[in-house]
């Protein structure tokens, strides 16, 4: 924005750069510097990209959207306390609560100090801190925000939901049919991914990264691999770079197809799900034939890819593109032409442009509300810099807009697959799958931003000299989308919640870690 101090301008003044952090700089700030940063954030438009803890430090990543500059800031907190960013970046709140529950770091002057991931069930408190503590004896129930008013009633839903979906708790407060407030309580599928990654060689930790959120297994694997490669300064074979993008676009198409059908199904239009689920199955079978796994799990590894495209692969992929181009548009026409369906999706679950910007929400949630951001374009990564694609952006911010963004993204991804297949670099001699070995004896810190079907993933990793992960933080796009779902449902009827929820389709596992 005009008139703002540039990101690096401020950080160079208040912090000192840390050696060995790639590809973007990391600055160590003192407490004063951190407070100056908060002051700066109050007046500028930098997006919060992530916030994560360590036993005696807290880190946060930012992007100046206008220039695309990215930086990480760190504050040592020997006393285990740091001034909260939640007053100036509301999206920081849940991340700070997670850092508290895992590392015991206290966010001072936070907007909400309640626990988040810790449900008093682990048998230990702050499990990843230097001194884990004994559990609280006889823990009380979680305190939901108070709701006052005449004629209000509450509907508790979950953690076990009615469908085949992940667990989480939704506390609706309704006035008759209309939702007055939704409060989410998540953390039920916390598996301790970050703790399990520590102390494992990068290749093993990659298996955990692949299981952060099964629907984004390629994207999370890619983010982890690229962060590790950045930390070690490893260059992967060109063919691997292109195969990764191929898998990522297959994953995007499969998920969008499934969700477009499921959204319509939640509006009682089962026909669409019956159709798109067949198309989704077609994509998964092609993925299986090309890469040996329907979801392409464990196929992207640090150093490259674990499998190469078989000889008939290019043909299969082009057949798939041709078939989807034939079968998908008539379904889109049906979606567009059914008044009863539009009646459910248009104006439902509205999220304002102001909110998506404040929370830095990406993916279809951000882009349906006018936030023109896609990690494939900014900061951008290979091979997308050499490919032609559009990033669809709408401004209506409702369920319908999120459906249309997904429809347009399917079309773009089909074109990307075609381009990738046409330009795939040749097989390198002597490699049965394109990858390079990670050299031991080097360590470092790396970060990657990768666009999953859901939005931007940030993965930050630190490796010791043996190539062992000492800290890894994968931040799923859901972190910045879940809070907006609470806003989207406000003023809508209870029966429209499944529709709103599915149009977001946030990950529980990716968020709870």
């Amino acid at each position: 924005m005009y008139g703002e101090e540039p990101l690096f301008g401020l950080l160079n003044r208040i912090g000192t750069p840390v050696e060995g952090h790639r590809p973007w700089p990391r600055y160590r700030l003192g407490r004063d510097g951190w407070l100056r940063l908060i002051e700066g954030l109050a007046g500028n438009g930098w997006s919060l990209l992530g916030l994560w803890g360590e036993p005696k430090a807290v880190h946060a990543a930012f992007r100046e959207d206008f220039s695309g500059d990215v930086a990480v800031v760190s504050l040592d907190c020997p006393q285990g306390r740091f001034p909260s960013l939640s007053t100036v970046r509301p999206a920081a709140n849940r991340l700070e609560r997670a850092a508290h529950d895992l590392y015991g770091l206290v966010a001072e002057r936070t907007t909400d100090p309640r626990p988040w991931l810790d449900h008093d069930a682990w048998g230990v408190r702050r499990p990843l801190s230097e001194q884990p503590a004994a559990p609280v004896p006889n823990p009380g129930p979680y305190t939901f925000l108070p709701v006052e008013g005449e004629g209000l009633h509450q509907i508790p839903v979950g953690p076990v939901h009615a469908g085949i979906i992940e667990p989480g708790h939704f506390r609706f407060t309704a006035n008759g049919e209309t939702v007055v407030r939704l409060e989410e309580r998540l953390g039920y599928v916390h598996r301790g991914v970050e703790g399990l990654m520590q102390g494992r060689p990068a290749a093993e930790a990659a298996k955990l990264a692949a299981r952060i959120s099964g629907d984004s297994t390629v994207a999370h694997s890619l983010a982890f691999a690229r962060a590790v490669e950045a930390a070690l300064g490893v260059e992967v074979p060109a063919r691997a770079v292109w195969l990764r993008a191929l898998m990522a676009e297959m994953e995007r198409i499969a998920n969008h197809l499934g969700d477009i059908g499921a959204i319509c199904n939640d509006a009682a239009f089962a026909f669409m799900l019956a159709q798109t689920s067949q198309l989704r199955e077609r994509v998964l079978r092609t993925a299986d034939a090309c890469f040996g796994h329907r979801l392409m799990m464990d196929r992207v590894i640090p150093g490259g890819v674990a499998t190469d495209l078989p000889e008939r692969g290019a043909g299969l992929l082009l057949e798939l593109v041709a078939e989807l181009r034939k079968r998908f548009p008539p379904l889109v026409a049906i979606y567009d032409g059914k008044a009863s369906l539009q009646d459910r999706t248009v104006t439902t679950g509205f999220v304002s442009a102001e909110l998506v910007t404040r929370f830095g929400a990406g993916g279809h949630v951000g882009r349906a509300s006018g936030r023109d951001q896609d990690a494939r374009r900014s900061p951008g990564y290979a091979p997308y810099d050499g490919l032609t694609f559009e990033v669809p952006v709408l401004t209506e911010g409702d369920v319908n807009a999120r459906v249309w963004v997904r429809i347009r993204e399917v079309e773009q991804s089909l074109s990307l697959i075609e381009q990738i297949v046409a330009r795939l670099p040749a097989v390198s001699r002597g490699l049965d799958h394109p990858s390079v070995a990670l050299e031991a004896g080097r360590g470092g810190e790396g970060m990657a931003l990768v666009e999953s079907f859901r939005g931007e993933i940030l993965t930050w990793v630190r490796l010791d000299g043996e190539g062992v992960v000492t800290r890894c933080h994968p931040r799923d796009p859901s972190w910045f989308q879940w809070p907006l779902l609470e806003a989207a449902i406000g003023g809508n009827i209870v029966a429209d919640f499944p529709l709103c929820n599915k149009s977001f389709n946030c990950s529980y596992a990716g968020h709870d870690l």
Binding site: V124, V160, Y188, R191, S277, S507
Partner: protein, 173 residues
């Protein structure tokens, strides 16, 4: 839309032939059901799926069972919304400690005769998550397991073969 309906009517079903009931599953289930239970259930099973810490990979493939290609309902097996309506709990994930109580309560809310199927490597063995502070490990550490369907995630055909074995075993012959 009319064109789609006509094509569906004239083109024949897209549903594929069912796999044979899985042999290991049949062996695991042998003798687990008494005659009374068999008589009561006939050839119909209602399944309540419980995610107890899955990465959602298993859920994606379980979902696929409902698509027209696998069409689970043709066998009399269907997913239900409440454990009160269920004969089978299909459990995924390494039992996150935060989900343990909800899982146990769901099992307790399921009327007998009932079975529990552990679906996916995490539910079968704890997978990569065993041994951490946040997960209990295999489902059998929390509840009695009748059938295990391994895989990461299991393919829809593996799920189908396992569930058909359960149906075979539970059906009165």
């Amino acid at each position: 839309m009319l064109k789609h309906i006509l094509t569906s009517l004239t083109g024949g079903p897209v549903t594929e032939a069912a796999p044979a009931p899985s042999d290991p599953a049949l062996a695991e289930l042998a003798g687990k059901l008494d005659k009374a239970a068999k008589a009561r259930l006939g050839r119909s099973l209602s399944i309540r799926e419980v995610d107890a810490g899955s990465c959602n990979g298993c859920e994606l493939e379980i979902h696929a069972l409902n698509n027209p290609i696998y069409d689970l309902e043709r066998f009399g097996i269907r997913f239900v919304a409440s454990p009160r309506h269920a004969d089978v709990l299909l459990v995924t994930g390494p039992v996150a400690r935060n989900m343990r109580e909800a899982l146990v309560r769901t099992w307790e809310a399921t009327p007998g005769p009932k079975w529990l199927v552990a679906c996916g490597d995490c539910a079968v063995s704890g997978g990569l998550f065993a041994g951490g502070y946040a997960c209990v490990g295999p489902v059998e550490e929390v509840l009695p397991v009748d059938l295990r369907i391994p895989g990461c995630p299991p393919r829809p055909t593996d799920l189908l073969a396992g569930l058909l074995a359960l149906l075979e075993t539970s059906a009165a012959r």
